[in-house]
Symmetry: C2
Subunit: 365 residues, 2 copies
């Protein structure tokens, strides 16, 4: 705890940080509001130009008939799965064992909807067509998360997606996309969002990951699905009198950063290469397929933190603000590339990685 405190402190004092867009401070909102006319009317319980325009824009972008803005992805995805369960009259859905719904939502889906879940694939790997084909239970919906965040942001190849989609359509299984990081994977697939989304019946996208907005999500699908989702949004207390702070920032940073996803992807590959060039470090995936990856070390967390702190102090480069214990003898952290990486001087960065490599060799790694 103490060591970790030191790491955060040392990280905060670095001049350059390699990941993310910058601090999550109030300036993020202020910047988005700067050019907005104060006289612009707020949305009002889901109505009004500001929310309707953005919903239409995102529906078009995602190639879906309709879309609705939600305060959070958690809310929107539970609702999507509930609607598909009601539609199919089957109270069961399938997803990956490390799905956000399974590990980060305090079992909201089960507690609020009593929906049963089938966990497909092993936790450490992606869902493949075979997992879906040999699923023994009948489900209303299959949720695919692209990229699979908890295993470093891995992706199936596009043909696998197409075959899973075709299989689900044939079998009458609704296919939902957890696209929290959809913008970040388009450069790898070399597809437009609408083409990718055409494989799915419903799609959720987030505006505070790669896009870097304040909060908020869009759920997209056909009109009856979206109309039903608005009723559930009201039931959840998500139909706020005004969601405009989130809508404005979502739209602003969508416009600002959508075109930079290819850059973040290339930078992630470059940075992962620097990690993998160090003794005994492995990134997952080895070659990133989006702006993100995980960095795995086979040394105790405290030892790595000591090395990192000395690097931060010496080079002014902050690689990560935290390290998570994988086991007593191993640790890892997540890296998501954003605006910051481009500002990091390459010379200092290479020096930081040289120090990291040497530090690991020195402790006999």
């Amino acid at each position: 705890m103490k060591k970790n405190g030191n790491l955060i402190d040392a990280f905060k004092q670095t001049k350059y940080q390699v990941a993310g867009h910058g601090p999550r401070d109030i300036q993020v909102l202020k910047e988005a509001l700067d050019d907005v006319d104060g006289q612009k009317e707020s949305d009002m319980y889901g109505k009004g130009k500001i929310i309707e325009d953005f919903q239409e824009k995102m529906a078009t972008y995602l190639g879906k008939e309709n879309a609705v803005f939600f305060p959070s992805g958690t809310m929107s995805q539970q609702i999507a799965l509930r609607i598909w369960c009601d539609t199919m009259r089957i109270n069961k859905v399938a997803y990956h064992p490390l799905s956000h719904l399974e590990i980060h939502e305090e079992d909201g889906l089960k507690e609020l909807h009593r929906i049963q879940t089938v966990l497909l694939a092993d936790a450490g790997r992606l869902i493949q067509l075979e997992d879906v084909m040999y699923m023994e239970e009948e489900v209303a919906c299959l949720l695919l998360e692209l990229p699979q965040r908890e295993i470093g942001g891995q992706l199936p190849d596009y043909e696998t997606l197409e075959s899973i989609s075709a299989y689900c359509r044939e079998k009458g299984i609704k296919l939902h996309l957890d696209g929290a990081r959809i913008f970040e994977i388009l450069p790898f697939y070399k597809k437009a969002a609408a083409e990718l989304c055409s494989l799915f019946d419903s799609v959720y996208v987030s505006f505070y990951k790669g896009i870097g907005g304040v909060a908020g999500a869009i759920l997209a699908g056909d009109t009856p699905f979206i109309e039903e989702s608005k009723i559930w949004k009201r039931r959840y207390g998500g139909d706020l009198i005004s969601l405009s702070p989130y809508i404005i920032s979502a739209d602003y940073y969508f416009n600002k950063r959508l075109g930079k996803m290819g850059q973040y992807y290339e930078e992630a590959q470059e940075l992962a290469g620097l990690y993998n060039g160090c003794k005994g470090i492995t990134t997952k995936p080895l070659v990133p397929v989006s702006n993100m990856f995980h960095v795995h070390f086979h040394i105790p967390k405290e030892k790595l933190e000591t090395i990192l702190i000395s690097i931060y102090k010496e080079t002014g480069i902050g690689l990560t603000s935290y390290v998570r214990e994988t086991s007593e003898e191993a640790c890892h952290y997540e890296v998501s590339l954003g605006d910051r990486y481009a500002d990091v001087p390459k010379e200092e960065l290479h020096k930081a990685f040289q120090m990291l490599d040497e530090g690991l060799r020195k402790i006999g790694y």
Copy 2:
């Protein structure tokens, strides 16, 4: 529909509007942000100084052990009732037939929690001690809404509240306060918020009614209750990565307007007096007990709209932006006093009411 459109247009063109604080536009957020340092850190999934400080401030103000900030009252109140049902192991709650939960939430409480409800009192009047005493079913919790918004913002006398609270404590019924407009009723009761809240086990307050913030709510109670509510907040998808736009505006307008609730209350009495001085108009309540009241007319909606439009054009005073049909022969609207009333020139206001009185007399009211 057309007429109504005309009323809104005419209303928007008036120079002075008697109700509310002003338009719900982006300036409301901008003003709250103006003096906030951009470097101030956002909250992060319910943690951080910005959210914790405000929660502590509101817990203290409401005289409760702990508090948690929610994106909406709908979410916070369903969760409060669910926790009390779980605590008491009784799946039933009681509230007024026109409670927000019963008529404005698409049955979220029932759909998400399968909680049964007992409707106390007739829709047109307040819940009295006798309604609680002679309730035939066993409930986990009684929700009281103060003031009862849908009947014009009426209040029981304080002794009734005390007796209901004492009865509930004796019988082991949890008492929850729907305090969406709690700030607005303190001048009538001449009580501090903490004293009023001491009658209740849990309290919800809103920041976009009398306070006039952008959105958001506080739920307050003892620590185990609040800790449990945070788990449900996560389940609902209400534990946003950042609620700071709402927290900042809630705090800003709380500081700005809390001291003005007495003024709004007096102005509501004055304005209701002007209405009741007109032929055939009745306000509910006759003498307001907060900043709000309803205005009832025994003429068809369209006829009233015609009169209002001519008043707006002649005097530049906007009395209401809408009229709701009560029946084919009657209509009504709600008035909530805020910052705007003080700016309305009294002479023009009296002229508007003279025209209203004459207009009603002319059509033989």
